[in-house]
Symmetry: C2
Subunit: 512 residues, 2 copies
């Protein structure tokens, strides 16, 4: 058995059955092995940032790693930005990167690059395979590394001669280490703090944001009068009717610091202490008050849900109060202003939808407006590198079949990974994309205003996407995705409803 | 003066007057400084691979570095693939990468990454600025590093607080070091080899491929009966009517090794010894015979043209024979088969055109067919990372105004950096793009055949771009570029002629 086949069989044996791929010549043995070995779902992306972003979306919805298949250092390089976002989401991913044959590398052919160097900044685990005999085992270790809590990126670099070399064997899957539990002493200490009754906030992260963890946190909040909060951007929050509503820290630092003002104790459950995305002259970077005490109940890699359960027991907290949310709103009418677009979205989010939020400036308020929508998952922009929405939708749709994906997508951001539309069409994925076409990098103008400046002749042009105007209907159609423009909320509601009632992708360009 | 302004003024003083940009918040002080300081041409790209690819094209045509402006580690990451190609072309580039404020970095906000780690594999020079006072000097050193022969990539990382910090001053431009000259002894040794009259090849690279160097090499070739060759892919070759014709080493290793068979001496003038792009089981990686002696007349960073002149003098080589090329062909008629498309291109290349060749498999023969076209420059794919054509066209057009750019562009490759079309439209660049729409990764099928395999159910689908079909007219129109489809050579000739007679970009989708 050649190395490549042993790797494919090992990945499958280890539970990795989905591969997002943009292969090149060095990966031919791997993809040929896929012809012989059934069971791996392969999804082609026409750009590597689509491939790695899809793997992020898949991991967020399944909790399991997909494999990516990338071509040499430069191919991996194209996937790094999405891997940065995935790393910040603690998404497990196994990157398989084909590379120059080891005996050819000293000749420095054109594609040769420092592949390990590219991989390290985004990967918790990097290995260059050195023998076909061991390649199966390398794959099993990579999967184990990816599945180590809280979810990590593992990059296995496979020189072509290791792929084609004989002597490979399928490795036994390695155990997935359980997430470490918080120490009982830590739980008791946090309980003692909360019993004091001083103003406190519990920051929830990771699995504490899902349907199992939130009611436990809600018990504690009700029992002790503490507030629950999430950081500004989170990998996945389960919310909507029947679920515990959860606010996120606002993006604007003035609002964020106001939201935390007076807090004496900050309890961290599965998350690091939230900080501002950007620094400003003469401003603090933490959202928490200087004199607040920070207490770590569970680090991101620890089992935050178990820690919350232990804390609730320690506090003898009664059962969580029933969640009572008002009914979702009706769709708005009239112009596509922020509030009205958010209201229309809130009205029409279908049950069990997956909302991917790369709304950036225009869409910043939609999270707050959709608290009472039908139950859904909300996926945010953890790494702040633009272009996560369209690729993540691919992986989310494949990882959670039967559920509608709605992408709230700023237009400038969408362009970074626009090739994702083609894969959505090819795989006939149930994705509705709302392109918020303000035709500018509005966040830059906003941040410039924060700094007391305003766009001039050069900087203004560098923020302007309106000359020429991007036409998203044509772009989407050119990649096989049906699309239409909405000029007001009535058209938006009509098109959104239309898209939800059909199979396959649909794109709505909102002329905001 | 704030640091950012001192950097802008220093870049201008050092001769860097073009900036390809995809800015983010960390770069706001830089772009605001551009509002106050005249003289920097700023060109927006909607994806960083467009920005860095444009800088490569600009450098190849001007010999001078442009600046790029990129946003933090993930923004730089998106530009790495094009920088890989630029590094292989020895293109001078100065990357300015804004980053997290230095005092904010320890809090690890979402965009924070190992920016230096991303930069190192592609950069000959990397520095993270540590003080606004020194930022001007950092810029001057970066330009000097970029302009050091044979042309290098310099990456200057500028944390936001260094940009906004006071105390900056404009640095004096630093001298550009002259390319080192080949030692006189080396010239004599090579001359002695050539006088033996044994079968020899001179490989030309770098500036030896331009109009000044080629006639000198031609003198030597005629005097000694040696052959001249270029490697498979080169940064820039000046050719066509009135110029010395030059063959490139074929891509297919069997053909390449046959072309070099019997060669006793390989002379390298401004180039490393050519090697195969890919390795194959049980095959040699060098294109040169095992028993050939390799002699370095000039390393890539040395002045190869001067070395050739000295060699010609040493050999008392008479003036170069007049170049006599047959007339260019007439445009072909009928179906869009390879030979006919190449012939039509050869017939219609206008004088002083710049041809950017990312034709990959279908376009592989076009170089040979256009030897007798009107005088033009031919720019090839030095790093083999896909997606260089559309971005390079931006930089080439801006670096050589008044000259038509023709991009010979494979469709699969075009998708990696498709956003470049928008910048072509915005800047109204005289670029004609020929998309060779075979709707597959044909090179993969070809390489699989080389390995004795054939596409199966999975691998075949991973090479197929036809489901759904990309429509390049719609994609181009969606980004503001006029476009049309050609179904046969008559339509191709008509559309190509049409595009050459107008200003601004035009895209022709060849339904091959």
């Amino acid at each position: 058995m050649i190395g490549a086949e042993s790797l494919v069989r090992t990945l499958l044996a280890s539970g990795v059955d989905t591969c997002f791929a943009n292969p090149g010549t060095s990966e031919l043995y791997f993809i040929s092995a896929l012809d012989r070995v059934p069971g791996m779902r392969c999804v082609l992306g026409l750009f590597e940032g689509v491939v790695t972003g899809a793997a992020d979306g898949y991991a967020r919805m399944t909790g399991r790693p997909a494999a990516t298949l990338l071509h040499c250092g430069p191919g991996l390089a194209n996937g790094l930005s999405s891997l940065h976002n995935a790393r910040r989401a603690n998404s497990p991913i196994v990157n398989v990167v084909g590379d120059t044959a080891s005996f050819h590398r000293p000749l420095d052919p054109a594609l040769t690059a420092d592949t390990e160097g590219f991989a390290r900044p985004v990967s918790a685990w990097v290995r260059t395979a050195s023998s076909a005999v061991n390649l199966g085992e390398d794959g099993a270790v990579a999967v184990q590394a990816a599945r180590t809590s809280p979810g990590r990126i593992a990059t296995l670099i496979v020189p072509a001669d290791i792929s084609w070399g004989e002597g490979g064997h399928v490795a036994t899957p390695l155990p997935v280490p359980a997430a470490p539990q918080a120490a009982p002493g830590t739980v008791k200490q946090v309980a003692a703090i909360l019993r004091r009754g001083e103003p406190a906030v519990i920051f929830l992260g990771g699995k504490a944001l899902l349907a199992e963890g939130l009611p436990v946190a809600s018990r504690i909040a009700a029992a002790c009068g503490v507030r629950l909060l999430a950081q500004q951007s989170n990998a996945r929050i389960q919310r909507g009717q029947g679920r515990v509503p959860l606010e996120c820290v606002p993006y604007a630092m003035a609002l964020a610091q106001r939201a935390l003002a007076g807090t004496r104790h900050v309890i961290l459950a599965g998350i690091h202490c939230p900080v501002a995305l950007f620094a400003y002259p003469n401003q603090r970077g933490s959202v928490c008050p200087n004199d607040a005490e920070v207490h770590v109940l569970a680090r991101p890699e620890q089992d935050a849900v178990q820690a919350l359960k232990a804390l609730a027991e320690e506090l003898h907290a009664p059962a969580a109060p029933a969640v009572s949310l008002s009914a979702p709103p009706e769709p708005a009418r009239g112009p596509l202003v922020r509030e009205a677009v958010g209201q229309t979205l809130a009205a029409l989010i279908p049950e069990e939808a997956i909302v991917i939020d790369e709304g950036v400036s225009f869409g910043a308020g939609f999270y707050g407006q959709t608290q009472a929508s039908a139950p859904h998952d909300w996926l945010q922009h953890t790494g702040a590198s633009l272009g996560m929405g369209l690729p993540m939708a691919i992986g989310a749709a494949l990882g959670a079949p039967g559920r509608r994906v709605i992408v709230v997508q700023a237009d400038g951001s969408a362009m970074y990974t626009v090739q994702a539309l083609w894969t959505q069409a090819r795989e006939r994925l149930d994705v509705t994309t709302l392109v918020l076409a303000n035709r500018k990098y509005a966040i830059l103008a906003g941040e410039l205003a924060n700094l007391g400046g305003q766009p001039g002749p050069v900087s203004g042009r560098l923020m302007d996407l309106g000359n020429p105007e991007l036409n998203w209907v044509k772009i989407a159609n050119g990649m096989g995705v049906e699309a239409a423009q909405a000029q007001d909320c009535d058209e938006l509601a009509s098109l959104l409803t239309h898209s939800l009632g059909r199979r396959g992708p649909f794109l709505i360009e909102l002329l905001i």
